[in-house]
């Protein structure tokens, strides 16, 4: 627990992504199994100990500290775990601290009834830093700016393996990931994950910008306005993954049940309606889908009111056969054949857009009346399915206005009836490759473009992920992507990013999008038309 507590502390005090990566990598190299695996799971939020809640800790403290002194302290410190770690009547020594594995085992065996008696025994063995780490571990929500992506990148860096491979195995394995460490750290065989459902990193598109492509080489699809998902069934087990590889199966149980065969499919998750793709068999706007996102359990009413389906783009694996090396056109043929075997109620095919030539395509894009369609996707007919964003294979051609994906960095309280909400948002773009240690630079500020319900959700996120307070402004952990719409962008000497946006507004909140996929400053700069 000592090394883990020290790691947590060092991460708390480090803002540079590069230093975080090397702190994590050092810890992973220097720590033995299974502690390091549990630590990774804890940092990436994969551990859940239902018997220990923040209220469990508050109740423990109630018996030990005067309530007035507790609340004065809690107000000053601003964090329950930290306040408790400092006020616990334990003292400063930790002669025989338990290991992370011992702590995890103990916590996993706690019940609501046993926690109040057992937790104090653990707390007594630790010093304040150890107690802080323990409480954070037990109650979840580390909030120290370590995303799953960062942890995986650090893992790859620690053992000099490809992050894509780490990503593939990670999702199929359970904490403390002994097979993963045996492979990466000890040079063992790659983990055998063939019979377990797992996420394959998505193939992604570049913005088209000024590129003109020849339609004999490129096929065109609509870019639907839902969320990109991967549906995986292996040996009868089905999972649904979001863009970032999060398992969202529990949120969409009807899709799991509807999957009749083993396959890995790429598509857009949508809710039935008439706004995208026609009156019959069409999809509703993104707002309708929003009702379904982020829920841990789904009511019958929700299922009936907002029935979900997947509009398929691609097939990666079908009944054990890996199609990823195939050309897109060959995969498309396979997908068209496959769709006949999938229930219409939950699956359809993303249709191709036919255009005589590029100019005609531009006209089609301009003429799109359906607001909810995001734009066009252009895919090289001979492209294999390659994870990540490889230049020249896939392009996205978004509709106007100008849109850019930014990361929420700061929030400020609004005025008037919004004065109790953090409703003014400052967001940023990366100043380089986020996987190579790029940092975010603020590019703009917006306070409109979201519903009241979204505002409440944003406000909660801001409060829960606050890193720093500067008067009315809070700096938040970098977890959320905004799709920001704006009219134009100009160069500006007054801003550190060197540019200023005109009329930025929140176009959409991308709860699903990982922050490292937000746009870079250079993308924004390329839109400057001064």
């Amino acid at each position: 627990m000592k090394a883990f507590a020290a790691l947590l502390d060092a991460l708390v005090y480090t803002t540079s992504r590069n230093r975080k990566l090397s702190l994590l990598a050092d810890y992973l190299r220097d720590t033995s199994d299974p502690d390091r695996g549990w630590a990774m799971a804890a940092l990436t939020g994969e551990l859940d100990f239902p018997a220990v809640k923040s209220s469990t800790i508050r109740n423990l403290m109630k018996d030990r500290v005067d309530p007035v002194l507790w609340s004065l302290s809690r107000d000053f410190v601003g964090d329950t775990a930290e306040t408790a770690s400092l006020l616990w009547p334990g003292g400063n020594s930790d002669v025989h601290p338990p290991s992370v594995a011992e702590v995890v085992e103990l916590l996993a065996n706690l019940t609501r009834a046993s926690a109040p008696a057992e937790l104090p025994k653990l707390l007594d063995q630790l010093n304040p830093n150890g107690r802080f780490a323990l409480i954070k571990l037990a109650t979840g929500g580390m909030r120290i700016g370590v995303s799953a992506r960062l942890a995986k990148t650090a893992f790859a860096q620690a053992f000099d393996v490809a992050v894509e491979e780490v990503e593939e195995y990670w999702h199929a394995l359970d904490a403390p990931y002994p097979e993963l460490f045996a492979w990466a750290a000890e040079g063992g065989d790659p983990p055998d994950v063939s019979n377990r459902p797992r996420f394959r990193p998505f193939m992604l598109a570049h913005p088209l910008e000024d590129t003109v492509v020849d339609l004999t080489d490129f096929a065109v699809e609509w870019k639907w306005d839902g969320i990109r998902v991967q549906l995986v069934r292996v040996a009868g087990q089905t999972r649904l993954y979001s863009r970032s590889g999060d398992d969202i199966s529990a949120t969409f149980p009807e899709l799991l049940d509807a999957m009749p065969l083993d396959a890995v499919l790429d598509g857009e998750l949508l809710v039935r309606g008439s706004q995208q793709g026609g009156e019959i068999g069409g999809a509703a706007s993104f707002n309708a889908l929003q009702q379904r996102l982020g829920r841990k359990t789904v009511s019958k009413k929700m299922l009936a009111e907002f029935p979900a389906f997947v509009r398929l783009y691609d097939a990666l694996i079908v009944e054990g056969e890996d199609l990823r090396e195939w050309a897109w056109s060959k995969r498309r043929t396979a997908l068209e054949k496959l769709i006949a075997r999938l229930p219409e109620s939950h699956f359809d095919l993303s249709s191709l857009v036919e255009a005589r030539n590029f100019e005609h395509l531009a006209a089609i894009r301009e003429g799109t009346r359906e607001d909810a369609i995001e734009g066009l996707m252009l895919k090289r007919r001979d492209s294999a399915y390659i994870a990540g964003r490889k230049v020249g294979l896939w392009y996205k051609w978004k509709r106007d206005p100008l849109l850019v994906d930014c990361v929420l960095m700061y929030a400020q309280r609004g005025s008037g009836k919004r004065s109790s909400f953090y409703s003014d948002y400052t967001f940023g773009c990366w100043d380089g490759d986020p996987d190579q240690g790029a940092e975010l630079l603020p590019v703009g500020k917006a306070y409109s473009g979201f519903t009241d319900a979204e505002l409440k959700k944003l406000d909660r996120l801001v409060r829960q992920t606050t890193l720093n307070r500067f008067g009315p402004v809070r700096e938040v952990e970098r977890t959320l992507v905004f799709e920001v719409a704006f009219d134009s962008v100009h160069s500006s000497k007054r801003h550190k990013s060197g540019l200023a946006m005109r009329f930025p507004r929140i176009h959409r909140i991308r709860w699903d999008k990982p922050v490292h996929e937000a746009d870079r400053i250079e993308n924004l700069r390329s839109l400057i038309r001064d």
């Binding site: 005090y13 803002t15 500290v65 005067d66 002194l69 004065l72 000053f76 410190v77 400092l86």
Partner: protein
Amino acid sequence: MSAPFSWIRSEPWGVHVVPADCWVDPGRAVERALVTHGHADHARGGHGETIATSETLAIMELRYDTRAGTTPVQYGETIKIGGSVDATFVPAGHVLGSAQILLEHAGERVVITGDYKRRPDPTCTPFEVIPCDIFITEATFGLPVFTHPPIEEEIGKLSRALSDHPDRCVLVGAYALGKAQRVIAELRAAGHGDPIYLHGAMEKMCQLYQDHGVDLGELRLVGDHDKQDMRGSIVVCPPSALNDRWSRRLPDPITAMASGWMRVRQRARQRGVELPLVISDHADWNELTATIDEVDPVETWITHGREEALLRWCELGQRRARALALVGREDEDE
């Protein structure tokens, strides 16, 4: 005779000693001032007469305009003011020259601690407990979350950061009066013999300490040296310079700060500190409460910091206490 203790009054800008018409640590210029120590929230220029220890007067001369009358006193020395009040300056252990002031009038005893601490400090004389009727205590760290770890641990962290990163330097933000010299002296005591580099703003105060017999070893000015020279060294600067352009002249500094506030993570993060060092020149919660118990006054007056919690502690222990609302004494940058 008037009501008990009516001769001592708390006003927003300081404690007024009525029969002597003088003020303790007044926040504005007055005819006659008793000053506990040289920090800006206690000492200022422009008074008609300033009564303080000779060390405090030397510090004040360096920092403020004290050209008008000064009356130096020694620790333990009692002087009569305004005919009927006896004032005695007693060591407070806070910084060089810092004193508690014992005031006696009509058989009643009042002690004003100024700022104080109970831990040993190689740069100043240790705190002494004086029995009294009214104990006017500071409460900068008057919350139970503040327990300062042993200084050896914190100095150890500093040394470890230095040896772990021989190509970088450790930049320690420390209050220019007191904290900086104490950190340097503690480093020396821990066997750190290498030259220590100073921000220009620290030079004169360090010299003053050395002139008063505090050994700080070899000190160098950052401005006189190349980046390369400072690799593997400790550099001390005022907290305000930590994230300043100034620090660009240093070799990849690890940002540290020596302050009691570093106990709380959020505080360290607000400062952009990578290496928080919990080193304080104030009493921590346990010391504040233990000192009140030891002094065992009839009444405790609390100034300067987080009064509510200490007030609550007094209430729980059935001690008479009140909070004084003094202006300009918030969150000392200690």
